[in-house]
Structures are given as C-alpha cells and as structure tokens.
Symmetry: C2
Subunit: 188 residues, 2 copies
C-alpha cells in the first residue's frame, strides 16, 4: 500500500470513528506516523478532504439511483432495487457510506446546499415511487412522506454495523432481510 493510499484509508477511518469535526489533521498525521505538514502533500485543505470523498460517493450513488428510477420496473421492484443498491454500496464501502449519512453536516456552503438539494431530490423520487405504488394497489394506503423517511432510515443505519468491524457479511442475506422488513414489517 502506497503512502497516499494509507492516508486515504486512515483519514476515512478516523472520520468515521470520531466524526469529521473531531478529527484533526494531527490525528491523521499521527495515525500514519508522519509529520503534520506531510498531510498537505495529499490535500489542499481539511474541508476539501471531506468534499472530495463525499461528492465522489454521492455522485456514484445518484447515478445508480437514476438508472433505477428511469427503468420500467414496477414500484415494488424499484424499491427492491434501491435497497439492493444501498446495501451494495454500504457493505463494500461502509466508511464512505457513513459520510453520506453522518458527515455531510460538516460541509460548508455552497457545498452543503448542493448536497442537501441532491438528497431532497432523491427523497422526492422515492416518494413518487411510493405514491405510484399506492395508486396501483401494490402498496397499502399510507402517508407517503412518513413512509419515505421510514423506508430510507431502515437502510441508512446499516453502515454503522459494517464500518470498522471485521464482520463477514452475507450481502445477499442482508438485502433479503431488509427487503422483507420494508415490504412486510414485523408481522406475519
């Protein structure tokens, strides 16, 4: 592993553990056993470090989301596909997924607004799927907004389970469980 890769790995790890605000440049330097100034061989600013990783994973996520949205799948299958996407990204790159869920709050304007705008746009798309599903009779009658947030929160917590821990995860099994929960809840 090159030093630059070690830097990326360590900084992502620290940001996930302590949060972006609480992670200092000196923390990062110490974790990779080098001088403080050395960190600036890899970044322009601390803020830039957050922005680059955050928007990289965010773009990737939204591009995949749009393909699902624009597909001809029925609402119920679009939901399944979205959950599958979220599980895939979260299990393979949990540290970056944690940026999407937690650390975006540390963005500064105008990046903050840019992120929020994209996220709200995504949430509206999910809400539309739910509304359509209700109309078609695939989903029961419900408040689409509350359902949207509930649904999304069901997958957003996931990274917490797989970031930093060396748990061996059966991606497919996790996906199956989440899909079942979102579609059927607890009940028999």
């Amino acid at each position: 592993m090159t030093k630059r890769e070690e830097f990326i790995a360590q900084s992502l790890k620290l940001i996930h553990q302590k949060g972006f605000k609480a992670t200092t440049i000196r923390d990062i330097a110490e974790s990779m056993d080098c001088d403080v100034a050395n960190v600036y061989n890899y970044i322009d600013s601390k803020q830039g470090l957050l922005e680059s990783h955050l928007f990289a994973i965010n773009s990737e996520f939204h591009e995949n989301v749009d393909q699902i949205i624009k597909s001809s799948y029925a609402p119920i299958d679009k939901i399944k596909k979205l959950i599958s996407l979220y599980v895939e990204i979260t299990v393979t790159r949990p540290l970056e997924a944690s940026l999407l869920v937690n650390e975006w709050r540390s963005l500064k304007e105008p990046k903050l607004s840019e992120f929020i705008k994209a996220r709200e746009s995504f949430e509206r798309k999910v809400k539309k799927i739910i509304i359509e599903g209700i109309k078609e009779g695939a989903f029961r009658q419900m408040n689409p907004e509350l359902a949207t947030y509930s649904l999304l929160s069901c997958v957003r917590w996931l990274f917490n389970k797989y970031a930093g821990k060396k748990v061996k995860v059966n991606k497919v099994e996790v996906e199956k469980e989440l899909v079942e929960f979102v579609l059927s809840g607890l009940s028999n």
Copy 2:
C-alpha cells in the same frame, strides 16, 4: 422567559442546528445577545452542557422504556407502546431527542461509554421482544438483530422533521403511520 430559560432554549436550538462540536460558546452568547463570559453563569463547561441535557432526556426515556418492557403486554403491543413513547418524546421535545440520536457522539469518556452501554442495553431489550414475538408466532421469521435496528431507525429519524420547524403535528396520526409501517411495511 427568564434569561436562564433563554439560554437553555438557544443553546439547544443551536446544538441541533449546527451540531454540538460546531456550536461555540460565542455562538450561544451572540444568540442571546450577551457577553461570552456570561454563559458561564449557567454552565460549568461546554461539555457539561451537553451531558446534563443528554442524560436528563436519556434517563427519562429509559425509565419509560423499562415500564413498557416489564409490563404484561404481548410483544406486538410492547412494540406499539415503544413507538408511542418515542413519538411522544420526539414531538414534544425534538431538540432534546436530537441529542439522543445525533449528539451523543460528542460525549467524552467516561460519559460516552455510559451512554453507549445504556443504548445497547435498550437495543437488546427490543431484540428480546422481537425474538419472543417470533416464537409466539405474532411476528414472521426474521433476523432479530437486523429487524431491531431497522425498527429503531424507523423512529429515530423523526426528530429531524419536527425540530426547529413550526409544523403542526398530529401526534396520534404520526404514531399510527409509524406503527403500521413497522408492523406491515409497504405492502398491502
């Protein structure tokens, strides 16, 4: 409203808006239009401010939780009661609820471990309810751990919707929707 009450209100509001780490003593002072040193008429330290509010609401929450756990309700009704409790606290005191969900990360040892321990204990209790519900046949077969986290995340996002915004909320309606989602998911 006394000055002390204004201090509490403003500091909670700021902590929710910007996060605890990003909220400075000077921010708080400015928000209540007083000198910086003045803030220390009401607190011993910034950290103490977080701790007192966080553990106050946390204790209250867990006391109520234990009453539900120890009741003779069936698993499905315990779940309903828990959701009801969460909605109640979140809708009436969203700013404090946000501490429980977001800001506990800013606690320092040993308070941090204390909080985490309580939270994990709570999660185990919920998991037990689910396991029991499955055994009794009230709930379908599922992975209890994933179900626990999914269930809890379904209610934890709520404060985001009601903190800071002047939305008039029908508590009962929100509760009904959440219960339906947790028990039945999206499906018909």
